[in-house]
Symmetry: D2
Subunit: 407 residues, 4 copies
């Protein structure tokens, strides 16, 4: 591990945790890298700020916050005699810092419109490998941990599991910035209850209520925030505006766009042709490219594009209805018919304005259980260790359907 | 309602809510009354501060906090066109302020030792009637509301129900002062979701996750805080030390005690002989009488009394074990035998040091349901309205058993 | 005042205040207007997020927060028997909501580069007048208050004075989001101490320490946050990049830019030719236009433009030194010489990279004093009422000088 | 340093800091000692809870909080390459934990009535020496640090100086529990700015505004909280009630009192006859002895004692006036005359009910300056390093006078 030169001992302010210390100069240099700095221009919650105006925090801050919680977790585990070498410590910091670096602008929306067939995790991995070259192999262990290939399973579980550091930060952070205080979780307590048994990350028994509370808070955040009606509408209009733009691009129509956005509009990018040039272009693309283009498209000749763009810019969105059952075809058709009249568009074009979708959330996944360690050293799935709160029920995915259509 | 004279416009600081305003001079005078001032000397959580050192808040502050939340609730309901007259408003303030005024020192411990066969609610009512005399009948409506006799049912439900103002304050307050942040509830949001339908207090549909969260938080507070092992031991030792003192008193043994404590030790008080003099004596009795006596009893000749007292003062308590099943007689007997040897006491006397008990908590009670109001104006029990979180499961009381014995 | 239709009773979450209620449907409609929605895309603190990564809050949220504090202030004043009519109440809400609507993208930077000779207050007024037309004169009183022309002086002082609602929100909000907890002020307490005497806004005597604390906190925020070195560098580079772009535009060089930004780059806009069309264009211009253009300019042929743009995008800024005295010419010249060599540019061109500036802050302005009301009803300037803390000293502007140059 | 046995690894909840870890088993055992447990029964702020009902926190919690901040300070200093051995670390924990152990019940009141001529610091030292015997000399270094005799001056300065850990905790804690948010200081930031130069504790230059803010916050807390009128009256009545009790005791009058209180009432204790027995008695005396006795004295035959006691119990206090100048004799005399009539007591006896006093607070003491370390490694007194805020002015003690008399 590189020695830390004094002028790189940096401290960052965080409204949530107070001060965050950058532990060494390698980490410092990674944070300074343009790839990482780009995360400053990608909001964590996309268009949720249309519902919760405080939710403008960025992926940059989330990643830094994760690193801070990782420092706490390592301190707790070492205090409990879990051995973690200096190299592993640094690997954990790098892995958690970079776990989301492949997220596109406006997060998930892009995955459904601009690029196809490649997940943000895969792109994160591409970024990490590129950085590993630049940093002469110093990220090798971090990549191994990130990929879940390190034999000490808990290292990978700290990065990705049902109770990983990522979730501990984002639930707390999203709850904080949205002002939805009920989603607040006690990251500190959950971390204080962590331990390692047979190289697996486990939670000590007296943390059982905290885990339950964490699962319930997460579920609440899903239905109240992440899947909030208005946010869903906005995100879907965004997907549609990008889809429309891409279709126009394919036809050779000219569109105001930054060079990075232009690249992704006018090329069909998927997992197979995602070259190093693509990665470089991807590293230039952020929320600013997308939203500034949409603002300009408000005045585009293409009516569909213009209408959709205007909805976002003026926050004058489609209406949305949500229910447990799928919507009947006749109902959808009625809405399409009205849209034809109202917007003076063809029936075929109504697909941009009238659409249904199914959303689901599973509060707890039995396949990768949260393990509870009792006093005798035995492990138990939380779903069985909990005395009453029917956690089994939380394993059943909740499914809802929504329909959007013009007001 | 009395006019408010300017010098009675008081504002109180509250670490939780910021500022609390005393709405009028009648309320001000009730707060100034010695009966109410006594609540300054009764902690809300008894010996929980032996576990959570921050938990020294008093019943006084809780009552004031309730009044503040009631102000918010009234503002919300009126905004939603629910008519609440000025008289009813004042009645609600008085009823919530005084709902706990009959609590004895160290709260529930006293009910099991010093007085018998009379609940703190009954004593609260006695205080309220006495105050009503002093204030020339100005508390009549408040008493009616407190007793649940007012025809507008929601008035009484704001004071006492599964989602009453009392709970909204104490859960928030206890969570705040213990530092158990996971018990924190969003009183503000729950109040914002309140409405009245057919004179019943109801919660609007979009508040459903908040109610669920509230129920889970309450359950967490029960098992993690209110029924915390160490707190349970301390409270039971307290009950035993008072029982022992009372037994000695009956035998004519002299005991250091304040005049108020003396009255309750040397007289057998129950619902039938609870006179006005008793009420006056009760109004003098607070945590200071009890704890200062126990401190003195450390040096009493009676070995049992002295041992028990010392345990509390030095926080050197009995050991406790908890489990789902009742403890077997043979196990209890073994512990008693050991106590005989260890403390050099008779088998019979071990009942002060070796004892078992059953505790239970029901997270949700179907009989007095929390009603959810959907958009079409229909009411539904939350246990049925919730889409997944098996709330039905929360209606089943959880029972646990514990045994205490000397270390 | 328009009647409030039920579906317009909106509540917004605020991480700072909890819930914010929109008081009536006129206010609701003004908030929905595209002019106001634009504030969602303008950050309150510009490039301060390069130093304080949490500081991404928008002018939209600040304006809404101000409205909330205004509701509190009106409640307090009415409680103290200050008469405020419903019309005045609504006027205050509108005036405070719209007081900053004329702010340009990245706030102050624009005023020094893109438009000239017209302040954001003047532009706010233009927006308000335009809205007043659209809303059939319902903003007339608000405009009068905003302009300080209403005879009841305290109405205007709530909008603009040394202790106005604007400051009470932005100091609290900026402190909250930056995580600089020391800048936190007790808006609640300051509002609770407000009163009106001779139609002037005054502070009651027992609020004197709170005002002192407010002045000190504001001063701290200036030097530690608003005038933070890194923020200053970034803002000045932004000004320079826009200046350079404008110079190139004047020469006819083509520049990637949105139509709104194009308008302001290729036209010379000042107070005299600020037409209704200009206002419309201004209403389209936000942070996204600016930053997305800068990102593109990184690859522009013009070396100066490209270098400056890259500094911002990669957060690889100029070095800055700050001191009490002006920098000597010889020192500046030396830095310029080095820049010539390092960047391979002409001496003349170094003005974009090597520059000095003077900053100043006056913590308290004697000319528009904060008036303290003592118990006998006398008014005193806080600078004289304070017993010790030499507030007189705070009236002396503090001046500092800085120089920027390439690393 | 003793090895830590796993079952002694304790974590305590703190509403302010979250979790506090007890670092080793020696510390654990000291905390468990009855001398230290006694601090659970002594409130930090005495009768301030009569004004700020949330202020019931104890000296126990404050001491634990100090230990937590000390852990942070040590971590920061070691990170900056200041060498602190494990033994010194433990000594710092013990010294800060025990720095206030000699405080009497209701803190300062006792020093002016029950014992005389001996400060709480001297008593703390006695306790520490006694504990050092019990713990076989393991507190020797802690005592040396506490007495300021360790050659590494910064160790002592962390315990006692103008910016010591004690103040960092109590200002934060008192501000938190009173709800006077303006007194809140950023302990975290101040600690982050600490460094050691020539074995002196210093603050790095960029912490200068934080120190200023800290001084102003402390000053605000003095005048608004610690020297709040109502608190002052209550404390002075408490002193008088104890003085009267002592006078009666000297005359042989019998008084209800615990054995510990009895000892101090019926013996004249001062620095010269403060034996080991006295220390043992002192260790039994806490808020409960005092307040429970006062409650009983309400019904004592002695009219003076009874009147004073009743004032406290019913919170029906004397009136107080405060001003910058001393009160004139004639004014005092007039008040005494009225008291004679009103209470039907002798002129001589009015001294318990009519009295004046002078209070003073010096916000900053030049003699033990807070040293600022600039980038070149030079040290400067903060009063000179600060650019504007006339800190010199803060060195002048502010003096006020008050008079109390019956309503």
């Amino acid at each position: 591990m590189k020695k830390t030169t004094p002028n790189k001992l940096k401290i960052l302010n965080d409204p949530i945790y107070g001060f965050i210390q950058i532990p060494n100069s390698l980490i410092f240099d990674v944070i300074e890298h343009p790839y990482f700095q780009r995360l400053r221009r990608i909001t964590q919650m996309g268009f949720s700020n249309l519902v919760y105006p405080g939710a403008n925090h960025t992926r940059f801050h989330h990643a830094i916050g994760c690193m801070h919680l990782m420092q706490k977790a390592i301190r707790v585990l070492r205090f409990k005699q879990v051995e973690i070498s200096d190299k592993e410590e640094c690997g954990l910091y790098l892995a958690i810092l970079l776990h989301d670096i492949g997220h596109g602008a406006f997060s998930h929306a892009l995955e459904h419109s601009i690029v196809s067939g490649i997940s943000h995790e895969e792109i994160s991995l591409k970024f990490m490998k590129k950085l590993n070259e630049e940093f002469s192999g110093e990220l090798t262990l971090a990549i191994e941990i990130f990929e879940g290939k390190n034999p000490r399973k808990f290292l990978g579980q700290l990065i990705s599991s049902q109770l990983d550091i990522d979730r501990l930060d984002y639930l707390k952070r999203d709850s904080f910035y949205t002002g939805v205080t009920e989603g607040n979780i006690s990251s500190d307590r959950l971390i204080a209850m962590m331990n390692v048994k047979n190289d697996e990350l486990v939670i000590e028994k007296k943390g059982i209520y905290s885990v339950e509370k964490f699962l319930i808070a997460r579920r609440l955040m899903y239905w109240q925030v992440y899947l909030h009606k208005t946010g869903l509408v906005a995100e879907n209009i965004l997907v549609n505006v990008l889809k429309r733009a891409k279709e126009l691009a394919e036809k050779g129509v000219e569109l105001y766009s930054s060079s990075a956005l232009h690249y992704f509009l006018y090329n069909q990018i998927n997992a197979n042709n995602f070259t190093e040039e693509t990665l470089e272009m991807f590293s230039k693309l952020d929320d600013y490219d997308i939203l500034s283009a949409i603002k300009e498209w408000v005045n585009h000749d293409d009516k569909i594009l213009s209408l959709l763009a205007k909805m976002i810019v003026d926050r004058n969105l489609l209406r949305i209805e949500m229910q447990k059952e799928a919507f009947e075809d006749s109902y959808i058709d009625k809405k399409k018919q009205k849209a034809v009249e109202k917007l003076n568009i063809s029936k075929e074009e109504t697909r941009y304005f009238v659409f249904t979708q199914q959303i689901r959330n599973q509060a707890y996944n039995l396949e990768k259980p949260v393990l509870i360690l009792n006093k005798k050293g035995k492990l138990k799935d939380i779903a069985k260790a909990s005395d009453q709160l029917n956690l089994q029920a939380l394993t059943k995915p909740v499914v809802k359907h929504f329909i959007c259509y013009p007001k």
